[in-house]
Amino acid sequence: MKSLSEIETTSKRASRAVGFSWGIAEEIAKGVRLLELFGFPGIKILNQYYKLINKKNFENLSVIKKNNKLNKQSICPINLGVRILDQVTTIEKLKKITFYKIAFPILLLPFLSRSSDIIGKKILLKFEKNTFLLNFNVNISTNLSVKKFPVLAKKVEITFLENKDNFTEKEWKALYKLSENTFVEETESLKQGAAGAGLTDND
């Protein structure tokens, strides 16, 4: 078994070798490490992408808008990932952004995962029938089978989710009521003595 340290070092060197700057190579390496840690085939997908990277043109995106439709080529997931990471505090205000034709979309995941941590919000990634929930760089949940990682996402939606509860107020109250069963009903004597200040704590 390869250690995460080996995965990171080799990914960094390979990324530099295909032409990325050292600084971007560092970002990619952290990303592949994260994918492998979370159980995604980072090394496999990166290899697939690097086999094509010098044979086929991929689009680079500079500024991210609400709707991003480029020319004929598909978008480089690494360039896009770095742009999102670098501009996430601005683009989160767009709430939802759309891209068309992103190559090897799995490679975008670690950048979104880290972005989620930076802005303190969960991020939802959707393309075709696949969804990924990026949870503050703690984990990534998906409905996608680990065996079927697409090489192209035709239409991609990224949504910055507002911080809100996953449950109803009714569900919360029901659980809270149960938790109250661990509390002790205070008698007059406990009210006087158990907190230390008596009934008056004004001075």
Partner: protein
């Protein structure tokens, strides 16, 4: 009195970093303190008459066990080499997490002796190999087998029976990643498991030499006197492999240096010094002379350094004993200021290390601050502005910005990774090919490039936007925002200049390991000694903290 931390522009110069010496903060000393109440055991010692076979040593506390698994092999004299190109060694070692089962030992027997081309698992923590100092080992076997102790003069010249040539950890060759074990209290200090490996290897060398002598002459042989054992350490040959580490781990480097600087600051701020503490300091200074006079090297460079060090320490002792009064307020501050004025930088740093000896209450809490959670500082704060970045560069890299990188001598060298051994190397970019594959270790040059680019950009521009067209500078933008928070994270010097002395980078790291007797064999590799004078495993429960100065 409030003493300022020393200026990184002074301390982080390579010549100063290359003058650092071991101290109470050093990792091998903090390892001994941490593991002194662990149970030490030799679990297996299955060697043949020549000393070849398998041995296992362990440290245990409650349910936690660390086991050193040793494989001693037969190699021919012409196969023995300290260079990284070697493929065979007298012995190979791994530190196993827990008690190794027979199937683990069988697996490790196939992999550990292969070192870099073998594969370890997440159950192994560190990996190393070592070669005998054949002359010393044979002399000791010869003497012991005849019922005599070895000649101390011969031993003193070398100081060890075996010399390691690499100690690997943190995920190399399949070893456990740091994240798997980082929450264990006992290893909350850098390189603690590497230190454990070296320490247990030292004991193995004593056991092996006794075993071979006994088998050579069962009736007459005696055991190596424990006092002699104690004065033997483990050698280490170290090359450029270590140099990039201190560039690639900026927050870790900061924490090591910051702890040292904080210790010095606190000691200088002590108003009154107890007489027992000043006596201990003086005793350590006097005793330490022996460490210097027994420091053997053939390197002209090091001989000169030792000569000046010895001259200045004698001058310091004279001042300390005949002129200085410890009854004055803030005596260590006065001593420090005197040192900076009157002695060479090697002597200043040597005495700074010694100043820490009496003050365990200052040093011990700092030992716990020497690790770093590097991931936390990886993200670039891209919503900051170019104006912020210029401010950081001008404030934190002022000396580096003065270097003229249009002059050939200032960018003559380049760092690369050798294809043959995957090890870092340094070469002349005007004479050798390969500079197009340069490693990102020319931080000073790239910081200067970044600075020039920032001056052309709009001050209100966000870093995220700046990076769109300056991706080649991303690695140094990241570093600039690291140094903003971590003042000692960067070497304030030019690592590609014509005059770079790479062993200064190695010495810095080795001083934090706790190495003694730096012996440069060229400007790119050196030999050192570790644990010389250290308590033996059976003495750990109650040992003298100042053992370094009593060997």
């Amino acid at each position: 009195m409030n003493v300022s931390l020393r200026d990184p522009n002074l301390i982080m110069k390579l010549s100063r970093l290359g003058s650092f010496h071991q101290s109470r903060l050093s990792f091998l000393r903090s390892f001994l303190s941490e593991f002194k109440d662990w149970e030490y055991k030799r679990d297996l010692f299955d060697l043949d008459k020549k000393g070849h076979g398998t041995a296992v040593y362990s440290f245990t506390k409650k349910k936690r066990v660390y086991s050193l698994v040793c494989f001693a092999n037969k190699i021919d004299d012409d196969e023995r080499s300290d260079r990284v190109i070697a493929t065979k060694w007298d012995a190979a070692f791994t530190l196993h997490d827990g008690i190794p089962l027979k199937k683990d030992i069988d697996r490790l027997k196939n992999e550990v002796p292969k070192q870099e081309v073998g594969r370890l698992s997440y159950k192994e923590l560190t990996l190393s190999r070592a070669n005998k100092s054949v002359r010393i080992f044979d002399h000791v076997v010869d003497s012991l087998s005849k019922g005599k102790q070895p000649n101390l003069d011969i031993l003193e010249k070398v100081g060890y029976l075996y010399r390691t040539t690499a100690v690997y950890g943190s995920g190399k060759f399949g070893l456990a990643d740091r994240f798997r074990i980082k929450n264990r209290d006992e290893i909350n200090g850098p390189f603690r498991l590497e230190m454990m490996l070296v320490y247990l290897v030292r004991q193995f060398t004593f056991d092996q030499v006794n075993h071979v002598a006994k088998n050579r002459n069962p009736k007459l042989a005696v055991k190596l006197d424990p006092k002699i054992c104690k004065n033997l350490g483990i050698g280490n040959s170290t090359g450029l492999g270590m140099a990039p580490f201190i560039v690639n781990h900026p927050t870790l480097l900061n924490n090591w240096i910051l702890c040292r600087e904080t210790a010095l600051k606190k000691i200088r701020e002590l108003k009154i010094i107890d007489i027992k503490d000043s006596d201990l300091f003086k005793e350590c200074v006097r005793n330490s002379i022996k460490n210097i006079t027994s420091w053997n090297t053939e390197s002209e460079y090091q001989i000169k350094k030792i000569k000046f060090l010895l001259r200045d320490i004698r001058k310091f002792i004279d001042f300390l004993e005949n002129e200085f009064n410890f009854q004055k307020n803030y005596p260590f501050n006065s001593l420090y200021l005197w040192l900076e004025k009157e002695t060479c930088e090697e002597c200043v740093e040597y005495i700074v290390s010694l100043m820490m000896e009496p003050f365990g209450e200052i040093i011990n809490p700092l030992v716990k601050e020497m690790s770093s959670d590097e991931e936390k500082y990886f993200n670039i704060p891209t919503n900051r502005t170019i104006e912020d970045l210029i401010g950081i560069l001008e404030k934190k890299y002022s000396n580096i910005l003065k270097i003229d990188f249009d002059k050939k001598e200032n960018y003559k060298k380049f760092w690369f990774i050798s294809k043959n051994k995957e090890e870092p190397r340094l070469a002349d970019r005007f004479e050798e090919s390969g500079s197009d594959l340069e490693q990102p270790l020319a931080i000073a040059r790239d910081i200067k490039r970044l600075y020039k680019k920032t001056l052309l950009a709009k001050k209100s521009l966000k870093i995220g936007k700046f990076l769109i067209n300056n991706s080649d500078l991303r690695h140094v933008v990241r570093r600039a925002f690291v140094i903003e928070k971590f003042p000692y994270s960067e070497i304030q010097d030019n690592t590609i200049s014509e005059n770079i002395v790479p062993i200064d980078m190695l010495r810095l790291k080795l001083s934090f390991f706790g190495a003694l007797k730096f012996d440069p064999r060229s400007d790119k590799w050196l030999r050192i000694c570790m644990f010389q004078g250290a308590p033996l495993p059976g003495e750990l429960k109650d040992f003298d903290e100042q053992w370094v100065y009593k060997s």
